[in-house]
Amino acid sequence: MTALTAPPTRIAPNTLRAAWRVFWYGGRMSYGMLFNWARPSIYIPTLIGGPTFQLFFFAALGSYATDRSPAYFAIGNAVQVSALAGVFGMTMAIANERWFGTLPALLATPANRVAVFAGRFMPFIVNGLLVSLYAFGLGVVFLGVRLAPGSIAVAALALLVTVFSCTAIGALQGAISLRLRDGLFGANLVTMAILLFCGVNIPLHELPGWMQVVGNILPFTHGVEAVRQAADGAGFRQVGWLIGVEALVGIAYAVLAFALFVLLERSARRHATLDVR
């Protein structure tokens, strides 16, 4: 072993530059470090194979059982598969710190917690978008999905916001999983709840009242409606409010998730409630 050379210069942890680097570079790295599915043997069957079958299954089932077109179901499910990537990905991005035993090393750093937390969203939002775009591609080629050319930008914005809000509920699930063992199972519940309550295959107004209430407080509901309307030619003036509500729901879940993360860190210091060794 050799002796170390000169000590490195360091960026003060309370500066914007330090926070930005933790957010941007740290966030990007977290994808490979913490996302269990980030290897072809899992990614392909789970985030390509699964969504493919989901899309065709619900399109076939829906058009058989109702008078709606396969495109209706294709759009709903093409957006929903982004939730699969966002919810599970973000849950893992936080909960795996516990399972990998890296939580103490992370918490012992002076890094800005908001930057650490927010940075984790980024790769999973991109991942969710890619999965969703793939599913849309299938819908366009095989299931008659057509997007009005003038509304593609609005539909893309609605999709982006929807993926963000799904990732935010994944972050909340991840924070819960820091405390509860087997919290990853909660991600299954969330994605199934989105499938059932949020108007993926059955319009919200056709669901019983209590299910509509649940659907309205879950992410996804307003986003998928915005995408559907945009696909039919609606512009930002018509669906902007839906996108806005979806964004607010996502922000609410993100804030709740971060608050829980901070609370758990504090609680861990006080009560030794997290596995910090």
């Binding site: 680097r21 490979g32 470090m33």
Partner: protein
Amino acid sequence: MAASGAATPAIEAIDLVRTYQTHTGVLRRRPMTVEAVRGISFEVKPGELFGLLGPNGAGKTTTIKMLITLLLPTSGAARVMGFDVVHDTTAVRQRIGYVFGGDRGLYDRVSGIDNLRYFAELYGVEPSEQRRRIAALLELVGLTGRENEKVEGYSRGMRQRLHIARGLLHDPEVIFMDEPSIGLDPVGARELRQTVRSLVDAGKTVLLTTHYMFEADALCDRIAVINAGRIVALGSGADLKDAIAERTIVEIETFGVTDEAVERLRRDDDVSAVNMEERDQSQILLVQSERGAHITQRLLSLLGDTRVGKVVAREPTLEDAYVHLIATTGHDEARAARAASVQ
């Protein structure tokens, strides 16, 4: 706030106490308070290599967790480089490195260098210097050439070395090492000791916990022996050995020694302590006595029909001093700490 001046200790623990709330039973849950650390005080001078020795569950890791800001003390206070570990967490975290032993605590799915890059960002190492710093650390810990391999393929020793590199990324002033040599092969452990020594030579303060007495003896300027949440001895290795300097250790190799025979040795008036180490086919009895080697014949006769192999009388080592301290302070203390109060 940090105190200033040359006299500021690098680490200062003042009557640190940490209790845990737990419970027993499933249906009728009975809350319990377990006292993991029960009033620990010590100071570590800048540039000192301080050892914390103790059996499993003695409170070493809990003490370290409090000093590195991961746990709040139930009472008492602690400062690192003059900064309070409860209130000045960011200042403390900037100045400390944390190296823990074992397989876990690394991002297995990515390469060793990516682990270091990530923590370089978390510690705010200037981007233009990260490459040089990481290369120097990889060289220091002997991982050069293996840095691009995924950590999941690393041996235990390589993981341990990566832990060390990670803990040094930001050039901390104080380094906490919690059993860093656990699982290392002899060559790796020797290299680790050289690394630790070189860090201290470079002016770093190191607090080290270990189970290996020779390691503590070889490395540490001072050692605190902790048992059942209390410091039971504090001093240099020589000071600790002095406590039993007048004793002789008689090592008796036995084959199939019975509990009764060991008990007969313990009851002898001239025997201070008896400890037994199990080997594959044999048991090594370590008998401490103040009567020198003269007692050997009597010890052998007390063993009765027990088959005896090699018998050696020698000077006490730090390990003997440690065993003596733990044996003489352990039982009552451990009982008291285990279930301090049932509410």
